[in-house]
Amino acid sequence: MTDHTASVETEPQAGDRAPGAPLLELRDVRVAFRHGGRRLVAVDGLSYTVAPGRTLALIGESGSGKTVSSRAVLGLLPPTATVSGSIRFEGEELVGLSERQMRRHRGASIAMVFQDPTRSLNPTMRIGAQITEAIRVHQKLDGKAAKARAIELLKLVRLPAAEQRFVEYPHQLSGGMRQRVVIAIALAASPKLLIADEATTALDVTTQAQIMELLRDLQRKLGMAMVMISHDLGLAASFADEVVVMYAGRAVEQAPTRTLFANVRMPYTKALLEAIPRIERPPHQPLPVVPGRPPDLAALPAGCPFAPRCPSARDLCRESAPPFGEGEPGHRWACWYPCGSDGAAPA
């Protein structure tokens, strides 16, 4: 709990945990949905850790489980979902927490920024009320102090004319300004972890860059860790410390950013990489895409889920799924015939 005059700078961590201990640790997380009498496994055995102040990028197509897995962290899933495995935040197990216990974390130690700022703000509530709500849910502040804090937050996210915006409605702001408001809401209680779910996808390119810059600055200033969800590997390359590539609910490649881009092993990651638009490309050309359709979670093939779309798939790939193992120090992948190697499966 911060006092009234607290700035947004984070306080020093309580020293009861070993330095270097992960802030967020997912171990073998599985999320299944009941869906019209069937069970869909949206996330299947996902594990990763995020250290304080670091950035992890979760990369994948729609339906790859990246959003579902991060919503699971905050328990923001519909009641048709069941989560198993372990999600630890500062050592505390989050799986199985009651709604009430979970609420202590939501917006307080873990906050979220969503994809579409137009839809993620309440159209009938003033900007100011939406931010002060986020503040007052977790801190006992009177109206005046909460307003001061909200304006401070709006300035922090570099929203011009913060006092005026405070009394306006979302529709009076541009898309980029709205996303700044959404970020201000997320920062309201000085979270230690920010989950940014496709935070820039709905914005135009110039605004995207500005918002990403803002997020990076804020992260440095406030010492937050960040889980960045995106379908854009290029974005991950410039902002993340570590990358997890997901496909059909599973992690298929995971490595520190540098390692990954120096040595892409999984053909799916390679396809994603090739799909990044580049400035050198001639304009008005169709952008390259990953061939084929995203997998049908209800009818996954027996072997590697990517095999039907994989250019280098062989019989083995269609028969059994490759394990997700550490093929090189710090670099894990799930592929029988990884790129740039002579076909050795990971140990």
Partner: protein
């Protein structure tokens, strides 16, 4: 936009948060799960049997021309389950024949509304522009027009009769159907297959008949079912103003209206037809509601 990945596929479960315990999708398949349609459907069939078949094959007396000597017989007496009314007619028989009148009127009104209103709405939406504007303004006038004035005018000038009741009630149903049909057609117009049909030179009549009708009709039929109850209630209301089925010919509306005067002495004269009115309307509402939820979840 960054790398163009194929868009979200249908089987990704919705991530929307619903309050705990929500399972709002209606489960489909299995007869147990069809109970919401089967129960009111069965009751409706039974009611239709009572109103249309039973008076023909069963021991049901005449609904009119009762003997005054038999007036006000208590309920549950031999030959008169619900007793008789102040002029000696068997109430049970009047209920059945009145029900037949109610259903016939409501069905005719909804049928005219569906055909006429459905066509007007589809045409307005399909042609758009000035045609749409004019048709919609005319409907606005009809909707803003106090229906009572029209109903009374019809009653006064043409005299009360079943067909005039139907005529008066059609002024309610036609504009309502036209609106539903227009909205449904407008949604349809934007769909790719409609564009394809137009681009490939399919004639207007054929498009309306082959493409629009089959897609709009289920919605109109559901709307017709949901409206049956309203029309049955309105038909009864007209009896309060001297329109509706003219006595001594029975309708639930005129039975209730006649019983109103002696409510404190003989409440059953109001309560029995009211109960049948209520059950019938409820049956149509339940059926319409169940069908609508099917329709919207498709």
């Amino acid at each position: 936009m960054a790398a163009q990945l194929p868009e979200a596929d249908a089987q990704v479960p919705s991530l929307a948060l619903a309050p705990a315990g929500a399972e709002l999708e209606r489960p489909r398949g299995g007869w147990l799960r069809q109970l919401d349609v089967l129960v009111p459907g069965t009751i409706l069939v039974f009611l239709l049997f009572l109103f249309f078949v039973w008076p023909v094959i069963g021991p049901v007396g005449k609904p009119t021309g009762g003997n005054i000597l038999n007036a006000n017989i208590e309920p549950w007496s031999a030959g008169h389950i619900f007793g008789t009314d102040p002029v000696g007619n068997d109430i049970w028989s009047r209920i059945l024949y009145g029900g037949r009148n109610s259903i016939e009127i409501a069905f005719s009104v909804q049928f005219v509304g569906l055909v006429l209103g459905g066509a007007v709405g589809a045409i307005a939406a399909y042609w758009g522009g000035a045609v749409d504007m004019v048709l919609m303004r005319v409907l606005d006038v009809l909707i803003a027009f106090p229906a009572l004035v029209l109903a009374l005018a019809i009653a006064e000038s043409l005299g009360p009769s079943k067909s005039h009741t139907i005529l008066a009630l059609c002024f309610f149903s036609v504009p309502a159907f036209a609106r539903v049909s227009r909205a449904a057609t407008l949604r349809l117009r934007e769909r790719p297959f409609m564009l394809a049909a137009r681009l490939s030179g399919t004639g207007t009549g054929r498009i309306l008949l082959r493409h629009i009708t089959p897609n709009v009709l289920p919605q109109l039929v559901t709307f017709a079912l949901l409206g049956m109850g309203i029309i049955i209630i309105l038909e009864g209301a007209l009896s309060f103003f001297g329109l509706g089925v003219p006595p001594p010919n029975p309708s639930w509306g005129n039975m209730i209206f006649e019983g109103q005067g002696i409510l404190s002495a003989e409440p059953r004269l109001v309560l029995v037809p009211s109960a049948f009115l209520f059950i019938t309307v409820l049956t149509f509402n339940l059926l319409g509601d169940a069908l609508r939820s099917r329709w919207s979840s498709v």
